[in-house]
Structure formats: C-alpha cells, structure tokens
C-alpha cells in the first residue's frame, strides 16, 4: 500500500503504463444490490407476520406466500395464552440479571481501566476467556453445584448464572468506554484527594450513560434470547423462560404454522422493540464484542 502513496514526483512526467480500468459499482447499481439484500434479509419477517395472521386453513401450500384472505388474530390469542406465563418468567429473569451484571461491569471496567493495579491486564485476559468458552464445558458441574449447595432452584439460579457469565462482556464494554476518558480527569480527582469510590461516583459515573445503555441493551438481548443455560438449569416447566417454552410448543410438527409464527414473534417482541428504539447502541455493543471498539 505504501508503494502507491509514495510515488516520487519526478517520475510523474514519464509515461506511465495505463492502469487497467476496472469498474467499481456505480451508485445506481449499489442501491439495487443493497435493496436486494434488504429484501432477502426481511423475507423471514414477511413470512412470520403474514402467516401469524392467517387462519389454520390458509397455512397450506397453495397460500404459502400470499397475504391472508381473512385476517385473524386467533393464532396470536392462542400464542399469548400459551406463552404469557413464560414471558413473565423471562422478565423476572432478565430485569434483575441485566441490572446486576451491568452494575458489576461498570465497577470492574472502571478499575481495570482507570484505577489499575499491577496485573490488571492479566486479570482482564483471564476474564475475557470466560466470554468465549462453550458453556457446555461448565454446565454439568454448575447444575451439580446448585443442587449440592441447595441454591434456590428455578429463576434465581438462572439469574445467578447470567450475572456470573456476564462479567467478562460487561467488563469489556465498560473498560473500552472508560479508556476514552482522559486520564487528566482522574488526576484532577486525585489532586483533590478523592478516594476510589468518590472518584467513581462523582467523576466517572455521571459520564457513564452511553456505556450503561450499551451494556444494558446487550445483556437484555442476550439473556432474553438465551436458550442454553435455561434448558440445562431449569428443570421445572413452570419456571421456563420464553425461549424454552417456545421451542417446546413449536418443536412438535402438529403445531399449525400460524401458531408457530405468532409465538415466535411474540417471544421476540421485547428484544425487537429494544432494537428498533435503541439499535445504534446495540451496534456499539456488538463492536465491543469484537474486542476492538
């Protein structure tokens, strides 16, 4: 790449071999391609919406892709009856787990970037590995441990698991964000002989809003969508979060398509609403997940 940018000016007058002209797509072409991709990506949404408003008779091959002739909310009503207890479970799980892990993340991120101790990078790497492991590798002992120490079963144990395994990602999000705060700000607080907690509380926390939004959205989405922890940890069906219940209702082939689709939409509604309202913060969380902001 340097060879291109450092061409010596003297040679400019010499006849250059004519570069092969290859075209970069024109603007119109770009829009066409971008739109095609958008249509493909939104196709499943069309199918979900259209099918969820059909009556059972219209879910056959002849009407597979068409709009419903008779719009019906029967499937939605049925999905709501079946899934609402589990939606409630999911909220009872997601709200405390998200809040706890985000608060923990802000403290960890603050120390690991702004109130560092010797070996802080090592500790951070030690945390990060926990983000990538296949959770299957801890699942058997984890369920064993919960039974042995008589940890309250059901949702509380799932909250606990999500808080612990959320430590790495939340620490990462906050550490990346706090790294952008100028060190002078910390020094100024130190000059005022402010301790760690006062510095955190009155200097760092007031400007932490963006990182909190990113971490909250990220944790909300991933805990709401989690299936793996729930399916291993929760044995009592009345405690199932909505993902497990959804898989259970739609897993059988006798469930009509309209019910399957309305149930899928219902179970995804909270994260979709969050995404539509706060999507740009969601993207920042994603980028943090790639380690480099």
């Amino acid at each position: 790449m340097t060879s291109v940018s450092q061409a010596p000016p003297i040679v400019a007058s010499a006849p250059l071999p004519k570069p092969r002209r290859r075209r970069v797509p024109s603007v119109g072409m770009k829009y066409v391609l971008l739109l095609i991709f958008a249509v493909i990506i939104l196709t499943p949404v069309y199918v979900l919406l259209v099918t969820s408003f059909k009556g059972v008779v219209e879910t056959d091959a002849a009407h597979a892709w068409s709009l419903p002739h008779l719009w019906s909310v029967d499937a939605w009503r049925q999905a709501w009856t079946q899934l609402s207890p589990n939606m409630k479970n999911s909220f009872e799980l997601v709200i405390p787990a998200t809040l706890l892990s985000t608060i923990l993340g802000s403290l960890n991120g603050f120390v690991l970037s702004k109130w560092r101790f010797p070996g802080a990078d090592l500790v951070f790497t030690f945390f990060l590995f926990g983000m990538f492991i296949p959770y299957q590798a801890v699942m058997i002992p984890l369920t064993q441990l919960f039974t042995r120490i008589h940890f309250p079963s059901g949702i509380p144990s799932l909250i606990f698991a999500h808080v612990i395994y959320g430590i790495p990602i939340t620490a990462l999000i906050f550490r990346n964000y706090y790294a952008t705060i100028p060190d002078e700000l910390m020094e100024a607080a130190r000059m005022d002989r402010a301790g760690m907690f006062r510095t955190f509380w009155s200097v760092v926390l007031p400007i932490s809003m963006p990182a909190f939004v990113v971490a909250l959205i990220w944790q909300f989405t991933s805990i709401w969508n989690d299936f793996l922890f729930a399916v291993f940890i929760i044995t009592d069906p009345s405690q199932w979060p909505v993902t497990v219940a959804l898989n259970n209702t739609t897993g059988s082939l006798v469930t009509p398509y309209n019910l399957q689709m309305s149930a899928a939409l219902l179970a995804s509604a909270p994260t979709l609403v969050v995404y539509i309202l706060l999507g740009r913060y969601f993207m920042r969380g994603l980028m943090a997940g790639a380690l480099k902001g």
């Binding site: 291109v4 250059l16 570069p19 290859r22 391609l33 971008l34 991709f37 990506i41 196709t43 499943p44 099918t51 091959a61 597979a64 892709w65 923990l104 960890n108 120390v111 101790f117 010797p118 802080a120 951070f124 790497t125 590995f129 990538f132 492991i133 296949p134 299957q136 801890v138 699942m139 058997i140 984890l142 441990l145 612990i164 395994y165 430590i167 301790g195 760690m196 907690f197 709401w224 969508n225 299936f227 793996l228 993902t243 959804l246 898989n247 739609t250 897993g251 689709m261 179970a267 995804s268 994260t271 979709l272 740009r280 969601f282 993207m283 994603l286 980028m287 790639a290 380690l291 480099k292």
Partner: protein, 295 residues
C-alpha cells in the same frame, strides 16, 4: 506502602469478580474434565476414575464421526458465506449512501432475534415436504416452474448441513458487515486521496490501499465466526431438533446428558468443544491484549 494504598482498593473491588470467574469458569472447567475421566455413566452420580474411557467410546461412536463431519461442513459454508455477504454489504456502504442508517439497521436486525425464534421460520422456508404440505422456498421454486431446484434442504442426506448454514449466514452477516465497515472507514482518507493523485483508478485504490488495511479485521471476523460455529446449538435445536441427520457436538452433549444420562461422555464432548475453541481463542486474546498494550 503508599503504592498499595493507591491500587489496593481497586483490586479489592474487583476481587469478588476474580473469585467468581476463578470458581465458575476455571474451577468448573476442571471439575468437568474430572467428570469426563470418571465412570459416571448413569443418572446416579459416581466419581470412580475411568481414565480416557469416555473419550475412547466417543471416537468409536459413529454418531460422533457424523457430528464432526456436520460441524465441518457447517463451519466452512457458514464462514465463507458470512464473510462474503458481510464484506459485500460493507463494500457497498463504504462510501456512504443515502439511507445508510436504514440499511445498516435492516442488515443487523437478525442479531436481535434468538435462533430459537428465527429457526421456526427457517424451518418453514426450508421445509422439504412435498405436495400440499409444501411451504417456503420449495413452493417458490415450484410456482416459478423451477421444480429441479426444490430440494431436501437441511434434511439432505450428505450436504444438509450446508443448508443449515443459511439461517446462520442470515443472522450474522450484519455483524460482519459492521466489522468490515469499521475497517473500511478506518483507512485514512489521505491514503486514498494520495493514491488517486497518483492516477490510480478507484479499483486500484481498493486493491492496493484499502484491502490490505482489512487484514486484521478479517482475522477477527474469522475467529469470531469460527468460535460461534464450533459452539452452534440453539439454531440446530430449533431447526433440526435432536435428529441425527443435523446433529452437531453441542447437541450430542445435550442428548448424552438428558436422554442417555451418560455424564462422563457428555463431559468429554464438552471438554473437546472447549479444546477446539481454546486453540482458536487463546492466541487471539494474547495477541489482542498485547498489541493493545503496545499501542
């Protein structure tokens, strides 16, 4: 002493998390390895040592061989497909188009939906059932007179896992687009400008200036996609259930615990998954944290 007073509180504040991670990540991994070496092969826990028997059983198990084949096909198609689509989207968006925010939001939205939910619609789209039970893409092909394109999708005998990669490509292309877009935009505009001044065509600007800058991003993308692929679980459960024809290691582990109640074998699969991921992730972590320190 003064220095300890300075950093001591920080260490103290992080120490509960350090202990939790030490116990629940590293401690439990050790415990899981111990289970994999035990003779706990039934519902009742047992801690007798059985050496590598569970691993040996696994490698003599035809289902495991099939799992490895499945995960290999899935990984290749998934990574190549997602890199291609994600890269293309970023390339198209690179110079800024009107409505970029809208396009980005559309491409990224699948990340907000669980595989359990999107798996349901993909099962409909890739339904191999014929006749009046036909749905999804096969119905499209038939209506368009392209009967020969209708196929078995994820239930195909040999290459079903290639179809199984489609929902995964759909879900993660937006993410890879975001990564590459950041990569494209990270190329200093002066470099592109300088190349143009030297008479380079726009194609050559990309070829010689922009693309070489994307190597680190491509590596990150490969590693992220690779580790997602090795762990794939929800998607397979949602689309294929527990069928052998779509079974992968993570699903087999689940079956070993819940249906066969062979804990040692389940733990052995989990350990092998962990090894697969570690080979990919540990060098990446060490490299990233080190290069960050040098920056």
């Amino acid at each position: 002493m003064k220095r300890i007073r300075r950093w001591g509180p920080g260490l103290l504040l992080v120490s509960p998390s350090i202990v939790l991670i030490a116990v629940f990540v590293y401690g439990l991994i050790g415990w899981n390895i111990k289970v994999s070496l035990s003779n706990w092969r039934q519902a009742q826990p047992s801690s007798g040592y059985a050496g590598l028997r569970a691993y040996r059983d696994l490698f003599h198990d035809p289902a495991w061989t099939l799992d490895l084949r499945h995960i290999l096909i899935f990984t290749v198609v998934f990574i190549v497909g997602t890199l291609f689509v994600g890269w293309s989207l970023a390339f198209l968006l690179d110079k800024g188009v009107k409505g970029e925010g809208f396009f980005r939001a559309v491409y990224l939205f699948p990340m907000a939906v669980s595989f359990i939910a999107s798996g349901i619609v993909w099962r409909w789209l890739m339904n191999p059932a014929p006749g009046d039970r036909e749905t999804g893409l096969n119905a499209v092909f038939d209506h368009a007179g392209l009967h020969f394109l209708a196929n078995q999708w994820y239930l195909g005998q040999n290459w079903g896992m290639a179809a199984m990669a489609m929902p995964a490509i759909w879900a993660l292309s937006g993410y890879i687009m975001a990564l590459f877009l950041a990569g494209f935009r990270g190329v200093p505009e002066e470099l592109r400008e300088a190349a143009r001044m030297d008479g380079a065509s726009e194609y050559r600007v990309y070829r010689h200036v922009v693309f070489p800058h994307l190597r680190p991003v491509t590596l990150s993308a490969l590693i992220i996609l690779g580790h997602i692929s090795i762990k794939v679980f929800d998607l397979i459960v949602a689309v294929g259930g527990k069928q052998l024809i779509t079974q992968v290691p993570a699903v087999y582990m689940w079956i070993q615990i819940y249906d066969a109640q062979d804990y040692a074998k389940g733990a052995a699969i989990a350990t092998l998954l962990l090894i697969g991921i570690s080979v990919l992730i540990i060098p990446y972590l060490v490299f990233t944290v080190r290069s960050e320190r040098n920056a």
